[in-house]
Amino acid sequence: MIGPDDLAALWVTLRLALISTLLLLLMGIPLAWWLARSVSRFRPLIETLIALPLVLPPTVLGFYLLIALSPSGFIGGFWQAMGGHGLAFTFTGLVIGSVLYSMPFVVQPLQNAFSAIDQRTLEAAATLRASPLDCFFSVVLPLARPGLITATTLGFAHTLGEFGVVLMIGGNIPGETQVLSIAIYDHVESLAYGQAHLLSAGLLIFSFLILFLVYRMNGTHLLRKEGR
């Protein structure tokens, strides 16, 4: 009942979710840190811009992204000038779309977690020979752990379920840009409810297990910190 296209879609989905989450964290962590510590007048502006993609329907966002990614568009033009080929209908394009759309879910929890860290704890680390970078990895990130986990799960889950943008800029090409969410959607649209149920159940169980494990681990950590 599950066809090879479905398996290919699963594979594309996992790759997309992993790569996007990784990129989201790589870009979101420094951005959130800057936002949490900055006193710049531009901070609220940038916070707003990050949250803005959220308010557009994904398909519409996808539509505008499609315009931007096209060879005459803002991003696509730049990409081609850099020697790239097309961006729309490629895996790379998908990643760009997912990252843009999921960014607020990653940046905001991280920013809150970073803001909550007492400046003096970082000063203590500095007096103990930790350079700012060292301090970031040995103090800031561990202290921001709950925020980091929220950011990762929201980013990951949202990329898994993301659909409107991906459908629009991905072009649903099997093995390349067809992700699981689209495959399920196709099954629903073409009245193949049985397959849709099966894939959905699979996705749900898989996600359930991952999320459950993450939350379990996080829980024990919180308890240890609580003290009395």
Binding site: A126, T127, L128, L143, R224
Partner: protein, 359 residues
Amino acid sequence: MNDALSFRFRMPLGNFTLNTTGEIPISGVTALFGRSGCGKTSLLRCFAGLEQAGDAYLSLAGECWHDSEQGFYLPPHKRAIGYVFQEGMLFPHLRVRDNLLFGYKRTPDNQRSGSLNQVVKLLDIAPLLERFPAQLSGGEKQRVAIGRALLNHPRLLLMDEPMAALDRGHKREILPYLERLHGEANIPIIYVSHDLDEVARIADHLLLIEHGEVMAAGPLSEMLARVDLPIARNEEAGALFDTQILQHDENFHLTRLGFAGGELTVGWIDLPVGERVRIRIHAKDVSLALDLPGPTSILNILPVTVTEMAAHGRGRMIVKLDLGGIPLLARITQKSQANLDLKPGMQIYAQIKSVALSL
């Protein structure tokens, strides 16, 4: 000066402005003393490089750490300092052991001196090593914070009321260690404390701060012997003596000390004969008599000359005495002064309770 910590800071902090200039000798312990809110913590933060705003100059033994005119600023993590924060500031996500080792791990091998075990023993925190800071009592946190700073193998140790939450028992164990630390390893210590008694025990140098400014600074003995400073009014005012151990009396558990002005008998000091020790005599522990008294429990009765007298509020006065060239302070009531008709130049006897000598 090459063997000093020279500084000049002019920094605004809200309504408050820190405006200090001074020099601190790098050999020994310097105490920062002043009322709550006078700027002690702020100054310590400047030494650590935690405040950057405003006009600043700081150099340690000729090595520049901060010079806002030249645009030079050495960040805290490159200064090799130990900082005991007034409020602990342990890392909440690390166990006590990892808190202690935080700086240790980041110290180059050849700069390491003390070991974890040594510090753990000194601070009596062995049972706490596997706990998180949230599971410690107030005093336990403070001890871990001290240990963390010591294990950073600092070139300069900055301590902001490190003993405030500690009982006398623990203080009595830690203070001598700090004394040895600056003595042996030659690590200058800057020590904020409200407790003049504690200060007098370990400090060599005193910086009096008032409203963000250095009001007076100098060697502790001079500062304590000055009758014009507010500390003279303090319960803990007194004089310092540098002495040498002459003899031990094992029977009575006493030690005899010699100094330029004579000899003193004090409680047993666990050091070999010939060692130099510094003792302190509280002004309030010195009483005066015109004649040599009869049999009494007071062991030390020394002939002195009155040199100076200053009355200060509430019927009390401070009498400065000369003990063979060394100043000694006595606090008496104005009534006693009238009774005895004390005047500068008079030859009298100072009675010092030996047990009141503090090491």
